[in-house]
């Protein structure tokens, strides 16, 4: 049946095949006509375009935008870097040229020859770099001797220049050649291999602003590759500049305060969410990463047990330790489980279902109320409170502070920390929550983790009694002419609603931590500004009774959070000293120094320095503004204040 129908149609389809042949013929004829037009009629023109005048396209990389601190101090800028290149096809006597170059410039002849040989299998008329990063003097000598140096070119490209070696290194990040993987991703559409892009930190997060638009020149070169004229030119557009919320002076003092210790510090404006200091120690040298990083330095970074490659302020997740007690306390006040007068008896430990939970002070704190429990960081008080509250009420209070999720910093890979709930455990491990697990959580141990940013945000939220600002690092973005393109608005991302009275009680407790006898955070005290804070130490390995002389990696992290001034808070600080053991002794002094620098910066210029105090700020030697030696840590002398 099919065949029969087909037979009827076959005449029809034979006609169609003829038609199609005709269409095909016309199409190919059009191609031939066009080729005739190009290759016969206009051959002369095109031939001269290709032969006599060669067009060459030279991309001109855009100058990257600069990065400045809040006061306009330049943190990262560009400087030109010159390299010496040769176009081998234009050189008649290679040996003579190399000899001349090495006598003129004093450069190593064998090294240049080696680079030359390595480069010869590249495309013709492409310059081979013989020496990179040559001095301006060299450039001048070459310019003067141009005629004797045919085929030699000077290439200029901008390179990143950092205000000081390791200053704010993790925050700023570094740049490097775009990787294959990045080229394939949506974020780098339109980039070419060889382009320099931000690899992490601000350089990466604001790549789109900083990069600028590459330009290029269409050059006409003669048969020998010499430039005759520029046919067209599109000048590169300089990248936009990023003005950070960072205060370079505070940042620098905080970095110095860490010394050799590993850790992170975040200082934040309580009333805006602007981050004033963002430290991860030890630092690294971003300048080294944009070129070929020497293997020994890389290995050094890898081998360092303090992990300098990590941005600890951004992605370090630490158990908050006793700093978390403020959350547990607020949960207890909210729930009505405790009030100002509730007091317990701490005998140095607490027993639940056969397990014993020790207070850091094995001798016990005796009769302890909320105020004392914060001041002396009594664990038993919070074990008992946590036992009554249960984990989910503590978690609810933490979630009110937006803990357990990233806060929306501009940087990529912000971590979320973890606030455990019974539901979380069910999902994660398929097991129900045991009541005994709540006790470590109530003192900020167990599964609880927070990032330094979250610690600072939590402290700021307590200081301003509930308002949560989005922590941010970018103040504004300006174009090359300094015209503001974008300005970051302070953004309230939530409110931790607890009664004013609850906040007052917790804040008074924190004030006592720093200022009352028996307080664990005396080392953050300032003589002129009332500081409130909370110490913490977060257990790295489970051995509450461990000795202090254990190995570095097993020692507790020291944590300290603070805000000031107590009456009208402006700044909140969080400091984590990895394996620093005690918040009061290791972290509190750093917080103190950050606060000191902040409040010194606000003071009107001192009379005796005659005005330019502001500029001197950076040069003030670290020793001069050490933490108040005037105020001796009282009552706890001798024994280190174990948190």
């Amino acid at each position: 049946m099919k065949e029969r129908r087909f037979a009827k149609e076959s005449v029809d389809s034979k006609q169609r095949v003829m038609m199609l042949s005709l269409v095909v013929g016309i199409a190919f004829l059009l191609l031939v006509t066009r080729l005739w037009h190009l290759q016969i009629l206009n051959a002369e023109d095109y031939h001269s375009m290709s032969e006599k005048n060669r067009l060459r396209f030279v991309p001109v990389a855009a100058s990257r935008g600069t990065i400045l601190d809040r006061a306009g101090k330049v943190l990262v800028s560009n400087r030109p870097s010159f390299s010496l290149a040769v176009i081998p096809q234009e050189v008649t006597d290679k040996d003579a040229l190399l000899t001349l170059l090495s006598t003129l410039l004093g450069l190593d002849r064998t090294e240049m020859a080696e680079r030359w040989n390595k480069g010869t299998n590249r495309a013709k008329y492409y310059p081979i770099v013989l020496a990179s990063n040559i001095s301006r003097d060299h450039v001048e000598i070459i310019e003067e001797n141009r005629l004797r140096l045919p085929g030699i070119e000077i290439e200029m490209k901008p390179v990143r220049e950092y205000s000081s070696k390791e200053h704010a290194a993790h925050l700023l990040g570094y740049i490097g050649e775009v990787s294959e993987k990045e080229l394939d991703s949506e974020a780098f559409e339109g980039y070419n291999s060889g382009d320099y892009v931000g690899k992490n930190g601000i350089e990466r997060a604001l790549e789109n602003e900083l990069h600028g638009g590459d330009g290029g020149r269409q050059l006409e070169v003669d048969a020998r590759g010499r430039i005759l004229r520029t046919i067209s030119e599109s000048s590169p557009t300089v990248g936009n500049s990023v003005i950070l919320t960072i205060d370079s002076a505070i940042q620098k003092q905080a970095e110095r305060a860490f010394g050799d210790q590993a850790g992170a510090a975040v200082a934040m404006d309580v009333t805006t969410g602007e981050i004033l200091a963002f430290v991860s120690n030890p630092g690294l040298e971003p300048a080294l990463f944009s070129g070929k990083l020497p293997a020994d330095i890389w290995q050094g970074y890898l081998d360092d047990i303090r992990h300098p490659l990590e941005n600890k302020a951004l992605s370090g997740q630490y158990p908050p330790g006793s700093t978390f007690k403020v959350i547990t306390a607020l949960a207890g006040l909210q729930d009505g489980t405790i009030d100002e007068t509730t007091s317990i008896n701490c005998d140095g430990s607490h027993t639940l279902g056969g397990s014993t939970f020790n207070c850091w002070n094995r001798k016990g704190h005796g009769k302890t109320n909320l105020h004392k429990s914060l001041r002396e960081s009594c664990d038993v008080f919070y074990y008992q409170l946590g036992e009554k509250l249960g984990v989910n009420k503590i978690a609810a209070a933490a979630h009110a502070f937006k803990l357990g999720s990233p806060l929306g910093l501009e940087l990529l890979n912000e971590k979320s920390g973890l606030i455990p709930t019974s539901e979380w455990k069910q999902k994660r491990f398929g097991k129900r929550w045991y009541h005994g697990e709540t006790l470590p959580v109530s003192i900020g141990q167990g599964a609880v983790t927070m990032t330094p940013i979250q610690l600072a945000s939590m402290t700021a939220t307590i200081a301003n009694e509930g308002t949560i600002y989005r922590p941010h690092l970018v103040k504004r973005i300006v174009d090359a002419d300094g015209i503001t393109l974008k300005e970051t608005k302070n953004e309230i991302i939530g409110t931790a609603s607890f009664p004013k009275e609850s906040f007052r009680l917790v804040k008074l407790g924190m004030l006592a931590v720093v200022n009352e006898p028996g307080g664990t955070g005396a080392k953050a005290r300032l003589y002129d500004v009332k500081v409130a804070g909370k110490t913490g130490s977060s257990q790295v390995v489970k051995m509450r009774n461990g000795k202090n002389n254990s190995k570095y990696q097993y020692r507790d992290h020291a944590i300290f959070v603070a805000f000031a001034p107590f009456e009208k808070p402006e700044i909140a600080v969080a400091v984590v000293v990895e394996h620093g053991e005690h918040g009061g002794s290791a972290a509190a002094p750093i917080a103190g120094r950050i606060l000191r620098t902040y409040f010194d910066g606000k003071k009107p210029p001192r009379k005796e320095t005659g005005g330019s105090a502001e500029e001197d700020e950076d040069d003030v030697d670290s020793e001069e503004i050490s933490v108040p030696a005037v105020v001796k840590a009282p009552s706890v002398n001798g024994a280190a204040p174990h948190d």
Binding site: K2, E3, R5, F6, E9, D12, S13, K14, R16, V17, L20, S21, V24, G25, A27, F28, L30, L31, V32, R34, L35, W36, L38, Q39, I40, N42, A43, D45, Y46, H47, M49, S50, E51, R54, L55, R56, F57, N121, R122, A123, K124, Y125, Y126, L183, D184, S185, E186, E189, G190, G215, G216, Q218, I231, S232, S234
Partner: protein
């Protein structure tokens, strides 16, 4: 599987034309890649291997009677659509588009295979289609839907070139079956607003740029218009007799973009001139005519439709690629069959040749 009678009926004209183009292609790739810094096996050798693999595959394709395709065509279609969805979900990104699927041992580009599958699917559909006379609007709704699904998925990758090619192949087959005049008019009326909507909402910025650059190459001499200008200079400067093998300045100084793949013809035109181009175009012309001839000689409708589809595929690839190189079409990534470097294109085209051979060999059996 192949009996003696079949072996003697091998279509040597078809084989000869294809082999000639392939070898010219290898020669041209040798020249085009001389200025490259090459790591590993040179491109022309790789192309030679791809050619051998392609021939093996095309032999495999013609070893079995093509009628078995009729039964499994819709399965193929369904499977390919699934693969296209898989590409979007788990595909490998490259150059800003997701086209590849990693099978562990090698990467495949399902959109390329779709070209063959759409031919088989349409052949099957129209073979079983019992309509009298030319097609009405209603008649083409089903085949157009069969076309729209994979085309939409390929546009999403985004791969404008392949999507266009598949559409052109399918439309050619529909035209072959025959349309009524008012069907054509209706579609023109629908297509124009659709094209406008597509321009406004579907095209990516780089695709729009390419079309605009084609319309006005001066628009961005430094951007994508650069390709067109350099290619035209290369072709034009070839003149009547060309600059000679491996003597093209445009290609040897690497002014040409992708000169061993999509712009391979540009290298050939520069080095062999108008005479060389005429010869190459003549071979392609003969190949296409021979394809139509096979369709014409074929005694069953399914085979005829298949042959038309494969021929349309070769024709459109050739015309669009050459047209792009000489500045008649916008720059879309369409390779010149058997001539441009690349394994995927070689294999797809060879599968097509296998089908043509298959149909040609078995024409006496019905």
């Amino acid at each position: 599987m192949i009996d003696r009678r079949l072996l003697t009926s091998i279509d040597w004209v078809l084989a000869g034309l294809v082999l000639t183009i392939c070898l010219l292609g290898v020669l041209n790739i040798y020249s085009a890649t001389t200025p490259y810094k090459i790591v590993g096996m040179p491109y022309y050798l790789k192309q030679l291997y791809w050619m051998l693999v392609g021939i093996a595959i095309s032999l495999a394709v013609c070893s079995r009677d093509y009628h078995i395709l009729e039964d499994i065509s819709y399965w193929f279609y369904g499977f390919l659509v699934l693969l296209l969805i898989a590409v979007l979900v788990i595909g490998r990104r490259s150059m800003g588009a997701t086209r590849w699927l990693n099978l562990g041992f090698f990467n495949i580009q399902p959109s390329e295979l779709m070209k063959i599958v759409i031919i088989v699917t349409f052949a099957r559909f129209f073979n079983n289609f019992h309509a009298v006379g030319s097609l009405t609007v209603k008649d083409v709704l089903i085949p157009l839907s069969l076309l729209a699904l994979p085309v939409a998925l390929i546009m999403k990758q985004p791969d404008l070139g392949t999507a266009t090619l598949i559409s052109l192949i399918a439309l050619s087959m529909i035209m072959y079956v025959g349309l009524r005049w008012y069907t054509i008019v209706t579609f023109v009326c629908v297509a124009i607003p659709m094209a406008w909507l597509g321009w406004a909402f579907v095209f990516r910025p780089y695709q729009k740029n390419r079309v605009l650059d084609f319309l006005n190459p001066e628009r961005s001499r430094l951007g994508s218009g650069y390709h067109i200008i350099q290619s035209k200079i290369a072709v034009g400067s070839g003149g009547l007799t060309g600059k000679g093998f491996v003597k093209g300045t445009q290609s040897q100084l690497r002014f040409l973009p992708e000169q061993h793949t999509d712009f391979a013809f540009s290298v050939f035109a520069e080095e062999w001139g108008f005479i060389g181009c005429l010869l190459l175009i003549a071979i392609y012309f003969m190949l296409v005519l021979w394809g139509l001839n096979i369709a014409n000689r074929c005694n069953d409708r399914f085979g005829g439709l298949l042959a038309i589809g494969v021929t349309a595929m070769l024709f459109w690839h050739t015309v669009i690629n050459m047209g792009m190189v000489i500045g008649m079409f916008p720059v879309v990534g369409v390779p010149l069959p058997f001539f441009s470097y690349g394994g995927t294109s070689m294999i797809t085209s060879m599968v097509g040749i296998g089908l043509l051979q298959n149909i040609s060999m078995r024409r006496f059996m019905f």
